[in-house]
């Protein structure tokens, strides 16, 4: 096995271009498990923890640009006010030890359908920035996930950052699991309310081959809010509309039966999470007037 430790981003991209089969490592919370348990023996590993840019974040043309190497712990501490949904999801990742090491970039690289960061990234229409020696390109989170543990990256690319607008309204995240910590989601849901665009974004986790954006449910609830002028009136929507909203979210999922839960349970739970997170977020919106 070969261990490469680039000091700069351009060096890292050159190494990945020269050895497209090389596997990047940052926090190691996914890759080290595979190596320790002998499930994977990469010929070459590129350590990205010495690259300063990857650990930085800042504003970029109205969006937050967050380096792929920013840990969950730092997202909670430093970005909790600007990205409350992602921060909530980050708090459910593993344990303090895992959150101190694990990164959103790593979550995107692994592209597990159960990755906790993915639903909030979908709900907030985040963009993934990929880089290679040929240049950079941006891929919408919605188009990034290609299958179970598959994403839109080319072999010569590394994840540089993700871009997302700071929250303009309430955001929520909810996850079903057997404990409050150290749990891979049975299913999860993120919801983001944007009063300026009159938009409600919904991302579903762990209930399909990829994380899923519930587009029909988004359109439905936006129409309900518009039709009854709920944005202006700051009142709750009818329980019947909320019920239908939950059903549309459940219908967007493509769950299977597995060791963590059944498909039926996941669909049922997602409808509950959808209604619940919407009520929480809408309560916050109503109080904010």
């Amino acid at each position: 096995m070969e261990f490469l430790q680039p000091a700069t981003w351009s060096e890292a991209l050159a190494m990945k271009a020269a050895k497209p089969e090389a596997v990047p490592i940052a926090g190691g919370t996914d890759l080290m498990v595979e190596i320790n348990l002998d499930h994977r023996r990469p010929a070459t590993i590129i350590d990205l923890t010495h690259i300063k840019e990857l650990t930085e974040w800042g504003m970029d043309d109205g969006r937050l640009r967050i380096g792929a190497g920013v840990t969950y712990a730092r997202i909670i501490d430093e970005l909790g006010d600007r990205l409350p949904g992602l921060a909530m999801a980050s708090r459910t990742v593993g344990s303090p030890q895992i959150r101190n090491r694990g990164t959103v970039g790593g979550n995107l690289g692994t592209a597990s359908p159960a990755g906790d960061a993915h639903p909030p990234l979908l709900a907030t229409e985040a963009i993934v920035e990929l880089a290679s020696t040929k240049g950079t390109r941006q891929v919408a989170a919605n188009e990034f996930f290609a299958g179970p543990k598959k994403n839109a990256m080319r072999a010569d690319e590394l994840i540089a950052a993700f871009l997302v607008e700071p929250a303009r309204g309430p955001q929520q995240f909810s996850k079903v699991g057997t404990r409050n910590a150290m749990v891979i989601a049975v299913c999860s849901l993120a919801l983001a309310v944007d009063p300026k665009r009159k938009h409600v974004g919904i991302g579903i986790g762990s209930a399909g081959p990829t994380p899923i954006r519930a587009a029909e449910a988004e359109t439905f609830i936006q129409e309900v809010l518009e039709e009854h002028r709920l944005w202006e009136r700051h009142v709750h929507c009818e329980p019947s509309a909320l019920k239908q909203f939950g059903e549309l979210v459940a219908a967007a999922a493509k769950p299977i039966d597995d060791v963590r839960g059944t498909a039926d349970y996941r669909r049922h739970a997602l409808a509950v999470l959808a209604r619940r997170t919407f009520r929480w977020a809408w309560d916050d919106y109503r109080k904010s007037k």
């Binding site: 320790n36 344990s95 910590a181």
Partner: protein
């Protein structure tokens, strides 16, 4: 490969480290520090908790080469001199140790918690120790030990 780092205040070189080795394996098998325990090898149990550059991590999830040039503190490095650290004393006194396998990791995680939050609430203790699994005690005495250590460092 060789990995140079500072472990518990001493400059160390681990020689002949396999590139796919974890920091935990390097500490135990190359540097003879057996305090950090090897159990799950997947970050689930917290028995291998150490400080890497001042941050609490699972040593099993750090690739040994990533520790190059870094400062590591293991459970062996918490106490000054020959005595025990206050957190270790509290674990003994509260009866928070049974088989003892999880204890080093819990001691390091508690040390980290009390550095960040000197007077943690029960909820904060539970969140901070959620990644450290004990199969003997049922956690009540461990939480007692954290409260005991916190009370002493306040006084």
């Amino acid at each position: 490969m060789n990995v140079s780092c500072t472990v518990n205040g001493r400059a160390q070189v681990a020689e002949g480290v396999w590139e796919g080795e974890s920091l935990l394996y390097m500490l135990r098998e190359h540097l003879g520090l057996y305090g950090s325990k090897n159990a799950c090898e997947q970050g689930e149990c917290g028995s291998c908790s150490v400080y890497l550059g001042g941050t609490l991590v699972c040593a099993c999830l750090v690739l040994a080469g990533q520790a190059q040039g870094k400062e590591i503190i293991t459970v062996e490095g918490l106490a000054r001199g020959h005595g025990l650290h206050a957190v270790q004393d509290a674990f003994v006194e509260a009866g928070a140790v049974q088989c003892g396998f999880c204890t080093p990791g819990l001691v390091v995680a508690t040390h980290d918690l009390l550095q960040r939050i000197p007077s943690p609430s029960d909820a904060q203790i539970r969140e901070a120790l959620a990644g450290n699994i004990c199969r003997c005690t049922g956690y009540a005495k461990i939480i007692d030990a954290v409260n005991l250590a916190a009370g002493r460092s306040r006084s």
